[in-house]
Amino acid sequence: MAVFDPFSPEAMAGRAKGAPQPMWVERVPVAVWVMAVVFLTMPAWAGTFWIFQVMGWSFILGMIALSLMFLAGYGGMVSLVQMTIAGLAGYMVAILGPTGTAAVSLGLPWYVYIPAAIVIAAAFGTLVGALAVRTDGIYTIMITLAIAAAFFYFTRQNYTIFNGYSGFNLVLPPALFGVDWRQPVPFYYLALGCAALCYGAVVYVARAPFGLALQGTRDNPRRMAALGFNVTAHRIFAYTFAGVIAALGGILLVWQNAQIAPGTAGLPAVFDILVIAVVGGMRRPEGAFIGAFIYVVLRTYSPDVLTAFGLSNERFKLLIGLGFLAIVFFSPDGVLGLWDRWRARARKRRDPLTGQPR
């Protein structure tokens, strides 16, 4: 089902029925197989720092950026509130579940606090969406940014629920199936699984009626209304869907760090998600993860490089900023856009009949 494309020429012409069908495995591109094998075997040949810190963090930031990509790429709505939704989900896990800050945390069991965190965060996303979809372009950015800023200051000042400045520590994943999910290898697979799930969901939904309709409201809202679609309702529901993805990312983030504080969803983090999505490219869901990986690698290794050149390691932000500028300047549709153009050029250089390079 997932690989059957109802809009492919074969399917639409009804040809798929008669002709001998390739097995679904044969229809998955080679690149996908290669990626799957690389990701699944990575703990066998990569170090624990790499799989836990670099890859784990990339998957998490990728998921949060993916929720922005879904809204911006398919819905045309640039929301700066996705990191805040992730932060709220993380906070809910800390507030409702057991943590080292026992005076504030409620210590409920995992089967209560995990679903509750996702539902609360998605509901918050829906609410923000209901406010934001009535605005356009720069105003959507401003209203979501204002909400993100308000959330940051609120968590910093509120001690009864959010424990203010210090936040929560020792926020650990439950030891389900007797596994310590914060060990590098289990955490790697957990993050990989969640990221793959979210990625697959976005790819699938993009071609389902809801996703098609969302892209319709992006390109042509007036015609969508004239076809009987409630444009506002579709946009708000897109925020709900994106909210669930961001919430999953937020829960993993709090487990990876084992703590959460106002800075987790502070304004720098909010902007980082935007930078990641733009650098990766918002046209396809892969972009979010590519952007996140680039960001994490720069963030992790640039301090070493900088100190080697005798510069302060605080300057890594300058590197990221310059990279952002370069991408926006040379390829407004991100690394993905660069890659697409390079592929198109490579294909053009081949002989159209034989497929051989000329």
Binding site: F7, P9, P209, Q215, A226, N230
Partner: protein
């Protein structure tokens, strides 16, 4: 006709038996009355042509009927129900459809996706997260609509790659999706070749008889061939109503249409 009447009767007590009923509809753009105090009724299944020179307010009239714009004053009833304050999608779900004078299509999607979206828009499960299966009735229905407007060879092409005439045909397919009861065609023949015009007339005259429509058309040939009644508009007002033959013979109309419109009715 009888079919439409029973359908209208089934709608219940609100139905007054008219497909469309406008009372004193006015739309102001700043100080300009694009349409002023328009009153007209159209029976179910009736086919009406709206004529008028450029800027007469014909498209604005359509925009008010479909809810693209809310009128400044007046009431609009659709199949007996007051829809004046309804958003566009609620009116569409009650069987109203329209085409646009300037094609308003999803240029980044294929013909098949465009028509599928149109079929989805007036079905339930608009929010479905599940992809359609191969035998999905809506996919089959979309295929039939594409066939009906002779676009089957182009079904998998992107709309941006279609010829102008094909885009106009697709506009019509989108308006035929679902179970339309009343359709507004905004200059569907504009820019078409004589052969394409003949095809268009065939599509319009071939519509099931219970589907009424209003067609805006500058080409009298097309308009009078498909319509049973005519409304002439001028400067935002209804200027004349009648049978095609009456309108064709009317001296004032001829002055407006054949001569220079400006001195006919200041």
């Amino acid at each position: 006709m009888s079919m439409a009447d029973t359908a209208a009767a089934r709608l219940g007590s609100v139905s007054a038996g008219n497909a469309l009923e406008l009372r004193g509809v006015t739309k102001m753009f700043g100080a300009l009355a694009a349409i002023a105090d328009v009153t007209m009724t159209v029976r179910p299944g009736e086919r009406r042509a709206v004529l008028g020179s450029n800027g007469a307010g014909k498209t604005t009239l359509f925009n008010c009927i479909t809810g693209d714009f809310l009128p400044t004053s007046g009431t609009i009833r659709l199949f007996g129900e007051d829809v004046t304050a309804f958003p566009a999608h609620e009116r569409i779900r009650r069987g109203l459809r329209r085409t646009y004078q300037i094609s308003l299509l999803f240029t980044g999607l294929t013909v098949a996706d465009n028509v599928y979206l149109a079929c989805r828009g007036v079905s339930r499960a608009r929010f479905s997260m599940l992809r359609p299966r191969r035998g999905d009735p809506l996919l089959i229905r979309a295929g039939e609509l594409i066939e009906a407007v002779h676009l089957t060879p182009a079904r998998d092409r992107l709309v941006s790659e279609l010829s102008y005439g094909q885009q106009r045909q697709l506009e019509i397919a989108l308006a035929l999706a679902g179970a339309p009861r009343f359709i507004l065609f905004d200059e569907p023949a504009a820019g078409l070749s004589p052969a394409e015009r003949r095809e268009l007339v065939a599509i319009l005259t071939g519509l099931p008889t219970h589907i009424g429509f209003i067609i805006i058309e500058h080409d009298m040939d097309v308009a009078l061939r498909v319509a049973e009644s005519v409304t002439m508009m001028h400067n935002g007002r209804v200027f004349k109503e009648g049978m095609p033959a009456e309108i064709e013979e009317d001296a004032e109309v001829q002055a407006l249409y054949l001569g220079d419109g400006s001195h006919a009715h200041g």
